[in-house]
């Protein structure tokens, strides 16, 4: 029992920041991101304890729960995915000065908004590859598509993102 707690504790430590960021970039606020992330890890823990579920890749499993949780969130609330630019993200960077933080927040706000305007499948792939440093092959496994297709999607996603930012 202790060992199971310990194992999930390690998985939690490894993925909490990634899952939170993944969710945060898709929703409107820190509160919503925290709420959804809590649900993701709670579901993950329940599944982890259940003898009926076998989890081969905890990361992929948590990301899948997170994707579904975000979809459920928008479905339940009936909200549009477009959010206000005013929704500034929480940045954990205690070494940054207030001015730098403001500039950084502004940049992050712009890029976050641009990501949210992308197609959902492009959003996920860009976050995983450029923010979580996930290799293309792992992403391919996660989305169940060939690595070549993922590369093309990544390229198209980046192009769309660039267009959105330049248009803003």
């Amino acid at each position: 029992m202790d060992s199971l707690n310990e194992q999930f504790g390690q998985i939690y430590d490894q993925y909490i920041a990634k899952i939170y960021r993944f969710v945060f970039l898709k929703v409107s606020s820190q509160e919503v991101a925290e709420d959804i992330t809590s649900k993701v890890f709670l579901k993950g823990w329940e599944a982890f304890q259940s003898p009926k579920t076998e989890i081969k890749n905890p990361g992929a499993f948590l990301y899948q729960i997170a994707r579904n949780a975000v979809v459920d969130h928008y479905r339940e609330k009936g909200r549009a995915k477009v959010v206000s630019v005013d929704a500034s993200p929480q940045i954990a960077d205690p070494g940054t000065s207030a001015q730098d933080k403001a500039i950084l927040n502004a940049d992050i706000g712009v890029i976050k908004l641009a990501i949210q305007k992308l197609k959902k499948e492009h959003q996920d792939i860009i976050i995983w590859h450029y923010l979580d440093d996930m290799p293309i092959n792992d992403i391919a496994q996660l989305v169940g598509k060939p690595a070549g297709t993922v590369r093309v999607m990544l390229h198209r996603g980046l192009k769309d993102l660039k267009d959105i930012i330049q248009e803003s």
Binding site: Q7, I55, K56, I111
Partner: protein, 249 residues
């Protein structure tokens, strides 16, 4: 916005790595989640690539589970046996193998209730009188000496306690008187000549006479009391007690 290169875009994307959850929230969430366990379902390890851990953990759980189950069964069996022995012991009479268990149960019960010692002695005497009556009724001559011996021991204890603490309430003396009357009525047994029993009779009668002398009596009761005193003087304590019980009615 000016045109940006792909590299600049990727650099901008990487700034999003600065997004992190609040530390205190993350710590709190972890402790909350991990406290929500379902121990009854935990038998199998979940992470497929941790095969050694899985093997060790599975065996650990099997051993722990099997040990706890065995312990639980043993405990239940032991409990069942104890309850059975104590239950069966209630049917025994002096001389039977499990009779000491019955005595032990009676003593424990009396201690748990917190009865005064004198009341415990009276209750025990009544139990032993019941045992003697059962033995006499069943014609178990082999158990008769043990039953009588138990009564003698109880009577001796009771007499000693009364001697040490002569100021007992009237009800206690009345209860003892009734017990002695019951004892005298057990067919086929006459213990009135037994020195211990006789001693107890004497103590009880003496106390009852003293009690009655302080009470307002009818003329008829006064006559009986005088008769009781005469019997007491003639050391006919059993007969005196019979008369006292008549007044008490």
């Amino acid at each position: 916005m000016d045109k940006i290169t792909e590299k600049q875009l990727i650099d901008q994307l990487r700034t999003l790595k600065d997004i992190k959850p609040r530390q205190e929230w993350a710590v709190l969430l972890k402790s909350q989640i991990l406290s929500e366990s379902k121990p009854e379902e935990v038998f199998v390890q979940k992470v497929g690539n941790w095969e050694i851990g899985k093997f060790i953990e599975s065996w650990k759980l099997v051993i722990e589970n099997s040990f706890s189950r065995r312990l639980a069964y043993s405990f239940a069996t032991l409990l069942f046996m104890i309850v059975g022995v104590f239950g069966f012991a209630q049917l025994t009479v002096p001389g039977d193998l499990l009779f000491p268990v019955k005595k032990l149960a009676e003593q424990s019960q009396a201690s748990l209730i917190g009865q005064p010692k004198i009341k415990q002695d009276v209750a025990t005497l009544n139990s032993r009188i019941n045992d003697l009556a059962q033995v006499a009724k069943a014609g178990r001559t082999d158990s008769m000496p043990s039953a009588i011996s138990e009564i003698n021991a109880n009577v001796k204890d009771l007499a000693k306690r009364l001697k040490d603490n002569p100021t007992q309430d009237a009800q206690t003396f009345k209860d003892i008187a009734i017990s002695l009357k019951t004892l005298a009525d057990v067919p086929g047994t006459d213990l009135s000549a037994n020195p211990d029993v006789e001693n107890l009779y004497q103590t009880v009668v003496q106390s009852q006479i003293a009690d009655l002398e302080k009470t307002t009596l009818t003329d008829e009761q006064k006559i009986i009391l005088e008769k009781v005193k005469g019997l007491y003087d003639n050391e006919k304590y059993a007969d005196a007690l019979e008369e006292i019980l008549l007044i008490s009615k």
